[in-house]
Amino acid sequence: MRNNAHNTDDEVLIRAEHVSKKFCRSLKRSLWYGAQDVANSLMPWKRSLERIGIGEKLGEPELRPEEFWAVRDVSFEVRRGECLGLIGHNGAGKSTLLKILNSLIRPDSGRITMKGRVGALIELSAGFNPILTGRENIYNQAALLGFSKKETDANFDAIVDFAQLEPFLDMPVQNYSSGMRVKLGFAVSTQLEPDILLIDEVLAVGDIGFRQKSLNKMAELLDKCAVIFVTHSMPQILRVCNEVMVLENGKSLFKGADIGAGVERFIAHFDSVGQTVTGSGEVEVVGLTIWTVDGCAGLGETVNVRYGDEVTISIEVRAREHLRAAKLHFVVWNSELLPVLDVMGPDLTGFQFEFGHDGRSKLTARIGELFLGAGKYSVSAVINSIDNKRVLCRFDSAVNLLVRADSFSGAHALHCPEWSIESVSKEGQLTIEENA
């Protein structure tokens, strides 16, 4: 994706070989294992004994009771100018891997070789003291990252300028908003001129303007460094990374330069939220089918959709009580459980319908072309009373959609309208071109 022609070809700055790390579920045991590990690490003769076959092997760790692999047998290489994106669900091992790379903790087996100065945009305000002013905290944070006072003095104006916090410099940091703290932390941290850059979703905060600014700053750093980038933002992965690794339960599920395939792998791995039925129970959903160009899916199933495919949902409901009419709408949720599309009736409330004399009714909604961006979506069917005051039945995750769209956009809906271009030709004539 990115141009790295100017870089030396074989400069591998990060090489991870079969890295594994185990964690413990129970705190009590974890502390006890910690004490054991501490004791083991303090016995310099341990390794020599092990070599001649005495004592437990340190090289091939085994899981003790209640332990699990937080990272398991992960290997990769990153060269200068390359960016490896790490994606995975919470608890997949991304942060643990970053901590190992940042030498905060040690792996239980495997080996990592890092060449060059390591910069980490992970926790930007870890050294901040809330009582002290922004000015004082700049110096503290810089010292924590290994800058001398002289270096910080030299960069001070640039930092303040970048963070746009000049009026608040002498205010205690505890009065800063969380966004301001991140700005300050980011401004200090990016003074670094690292060879290796570890980034963990730090750009999620801050206003739009600052986010743009920090993305640009990062892009600047990206070309000079070997980067490992952890994020949940697929568009950022698509934009920045030239290789992606999908982690699941500590293992590498996918690793390759086909970012789109990696992202798809990641999205497909989202656990579908279990079906839940709530509401007064006066109405029940008997059946539901969703059709696309390629196929169809019933209750609880997942259907693949391409961007722009036509989609139709049909549902069969039955009134348990003596009910004449009700209102129905479908809500489409994205994987972050945000509603992105509401399929409604003409008055933008539920679509009103009447039950047949057997209490049943079958409804079909031709949604038409689906303009959703790539991702996994779930559909809820919601049946309300006519006055919309009571929920008669709400069926969540009735069916799932897996949408594929080859785009770098992170927007929920993608739309290509009819474009036209106005331009003045050489002869001074106005021409209007319209696309098909």
Binding site: T8, V38, L104, M114, N129
Partner: protein, 291 residues
């Protein structure tokens, strides 16, 4: 581990991260202690400034709080002794001056143990998020111990003047004795930091030990004449430097020079060991801190 790789006339430091055990862990620790010294010293200074500024900016009385606890201790014991509720004989030296000196010296030991004990608590979030030379925390704690014990020691100046006791030539040894207590406190405090980081029991035990230690150290009473009690008390490593330093300053007691020197040397040795241990086990601790 550090080696080098040549790149555009620039040598990149190479870091190898492995499970790390055995002798290698110690040699690595020593190497990075030396290599990172300039950075850790600068960082320690910043952190000391940061913590003291923050603490006193949040307080009205500020440094007065450093004088108050030893003053309170002195007041209690002087009152108890003068009202004959307890009967403490300290020879020719005025009792208040005796207690002030003893308390100031005890504070040096006590403050050092406490400063080391507080290392993990205050740096917890930093430790698990930022990679920095951890020995800077020890230096900062040492600085705090120094600050928290030297400032109360200033009480001695007016006290000596009020009681009209001009310090003699041996008083020049007083700072050395003071420093010995400081180092002893730091060494003992730091030794228990790793295990204390895992188990809160350690911190409680140490606090209890310090309270108990106050009474089994000749702080508010003089070294007894009885040979048996004396030997028992001398097994307490704080006794010899404390009694000797007090005697160097205000006289009136026996001096235990060799014992003090021995305690001093052992403290330095232990402090070095404890620093190394701290450095080696830190990744294990960080892992458990936020597990």
């Amino acid at each position: 581990m550090s080696g080098g790789v040549q790149d555009n006339n620039r040598t990149l430091p190479v870091r190898v991260i492995t499970p790390h055990a055995g002798l290698e862990a110690f040699t690595d620790a020593i190497r990075s202690l030396v290599r990172d010294f300039p950075q850790s010293r600068a960082l320690a200074w910043r952190m000391l400034l940061r913590d003291t500024r923050a603490m006193y900016r949040q307080s009205l009385l500020g440094y007065v709080w450093l004088f108050l606890p030893p003053l309170a201790t002195v007041l209690v014991w002087v009152l108890l002794n003068s009202s004959s509720l307890v009967n403490i004989e300290v020879g020719t030296v005025p009792y208040p001056l005796f207690v002030i000196t003893g308390t100031v010296l005890w504070t040096a030991f006590n403050a050092s143990v406490m400063a080391m004990q507080e290392i993990m608590g205050s740096a917890r979030s930093m430790l698990s998020k930022v990679n920095f030379p951890h020995e800077a925390l020890i230096m900062t704690a040492f600085g705090k111990a120094l600050l928290n014990s030297v400032i109360p020691a200033l009480l001695l100046v007016p006290a000596l003047i009020v009681y009209g006791i001009p310090p003699g030539l041996p008083a020049l040894l007083f700072p050395l004795g003071f420093l010995t207590l400081l180092l002893l406190g730091c060494a003992l405090g730091l030794l228990f930091v790793p295990i204390g980081a895992l188990y809160g029991d350690v911190g409680r035990a140490i606090q209890m030990g310090l309270r108990f230690g106050f009474f089994v150290t000749p702080v508010i009473y003089a070294m007894p004449e009885s040979a048996l009690t004396r030997t028992l008390l001398l097994w307490n490593p704080v006794s010899a430097p404390l009694v000797s330093s007090r005697s160097w300053l205000i006289g009136g007691e026996s001096v235990f020079v060799w014992e003090t020197v021995l305690v001093g040397l052992i403290s330095i040795f232990l402090l070095a060991i404890a620093t190394l241990v701290f450095k080696v086990v830190m990744p294990h601790l960080i892992e458990r801190l936020n597990a």
